[in-house]
Symmetry: C2
Subunit: 279 residues, 2 copies
């Protein structure tokens, strides 16, 4: 790709932010916008195959900052074994795409279950199965604590502290954590936990927290500046913890998805410069 | 009131659960249902005056388990001073109603502000103003951590641990905490914090966490059994922490509000017996 504005050297587009774009379109869009990295999702990658996606990204001179996503590890029995097999495939895909970061959304309570403690234990057990497999392939499982409003139906992993408790039994190269402002901005303990995370930080994701939340609360993620989060303290905190990787912008938002994606990238760059890099 | 089923001796109706009822109707409903305690709200109390409300409750032989609510302490300047004055009135009302528990919802970020740390500090400052005033009147400020999804717009107090950090500089008789299952069920640290809370526990509230959340996320509180929470561990934890007070059922839910309130009370008693008292 052509020369990148040095201030954008660590900016990454998570491809869900431009949901209507294929991998090829998102790669081309990043090149046009001078965005040097991209976070890919398994489903659009599967449409063209891992090898083709890897070649597209490499030919464009982009980095793959992460692959979304593995996880959903809270079921037991057959469903649990199927989840492990699927996660091994996800690890292979991450390796094939040349990224060391596989984002893990661990899953909610199994249908009808109220056993939160048990679900959390199954995540720990599954990690023990998957971490060595990931490490052997140069991939790190990046545990993403999700906002507590998703605890029942999406991720029983709710705080950065809990993610670190889960990660710490494993080598740093095998299990890390995701720092996503949307999910953890409210946490009174977040600064201590980011410092504690240190080189466990495998991904830094930014987007804003909107109110009122939309009817589908999964789509409450907004463009930086449209919500309530003060970003520079988070950027500084991950930097002070030693993180030198990309800052990925991941927005699930019906209005953003209805906007021309090139325009979304232009806004994203502006807001990143003004609101994330600002001191 | 007539003899209460001894298993219901600590059950309390928070009057918002039967939103269409006046104080008088809710008191009468509790008597008919054999529910010995009621949590009142300031607005319906104001419609008839504190003295009349206190007499209605006393004549019916009910306890007032709490008054909802003081708080909204995150503004500064004139709005902050007005909030302090309003909270002093709320304390007087609690005293007048014969309850020692004033539930505090501390307020969200002021409009346009992204200074979460500052908002939290203003809550601490306001507590220092209000706690002695409350203590002199035999009222305890019961800090309610709200689910983190309300951090921006309703309460910057998000965890029980944070509530205890705020409460502990003050005498136990002046500042306590609310343990509300809906708000804290997801917290991986909750068992440690309930044990830590000990005699700071001023109120125990139960209701369930529903998914999908309704369009107005304030109304995601469901009847016990309709959602994802396992209640007995919470009941046992507050008992083991030394709490001997009432268990208040507080449900904000459009469907519950559209149901005949006597029927709501019947369901509430059944679910309480089956799902909260169960071992």
């Amino acid at each position: 790709m052509s020369a990148v504005d040095p201030r954008l050297a660590k900016l990454s587009l998570n491809q869900r932010t431009t949901e209507s774009w294929s991998v090829r379109e998102a790669v081309d869009g990043c090149v046009r916008a001078g965005i040097p990295a991209i976070g890919l999702w398994r489903e659009p990658v599967a449409e063209i195959g891992v090898a083709t996606a890897a070649k597209l990204v490499a030919d464009a001179g982009l980095r793959v900052s992460s692959l979304c996503r593995g996880g959903f590890l809270t079921a037991d029995g057959e469903a649990g074994r199927a989840a492990l097999a699927d996660n091994r495939r996800a690890i292979d895909e991450a390796a094939g795409l040349g990224t060391d970061c596989l984002v893990m959304v661990v899953g909610g309570l199994p249908p009808g279950s109220r056993d939160l403690r048990g679900a959390r234990q199954r995540v720990a057990d599954a990690l023990a199965e998957l971490a060595p497999y990931a490490g052997e392939r140069g991939v790190r499982l990046a545990l993403e604590p999700l906002h507590p409003m998703y605890c029942a139906d999406r991720a029983v992993l709710s705080t950065l502290g809990q993610a670190l408790d889960l990660a710490e039994p494993f080598p740093v190269a095998q299990v890390g954590v995701v720092v996503d402002t949307f999910h953890i901005w409210w946490d009174p303990d977040v600064w201590r936990q980011i410092a504690r995370a240190g080189d466990r930080i495998a991904s830094f994701q930014v987007c804003d927290f909107l109110t009122p939340l939309p009817a589908d609360v999964l789509l409450g993620r907004g463009m930086m500046g449209d919500g309530h989060i003060d970003f520079p303290p988070f950027r500084r905190a991950v930097e002070e913890a030693g993180y030198t990787g990309d800052t990925e912008v991941e927005i699930f938002n019906a209005e953003v998805w209805a906007t021309d994606p090139d325009e979304v990238l232009a806004t994203m760059k502006d807001r990143y410069l003004q609101l994330v890099l600002a001191d």
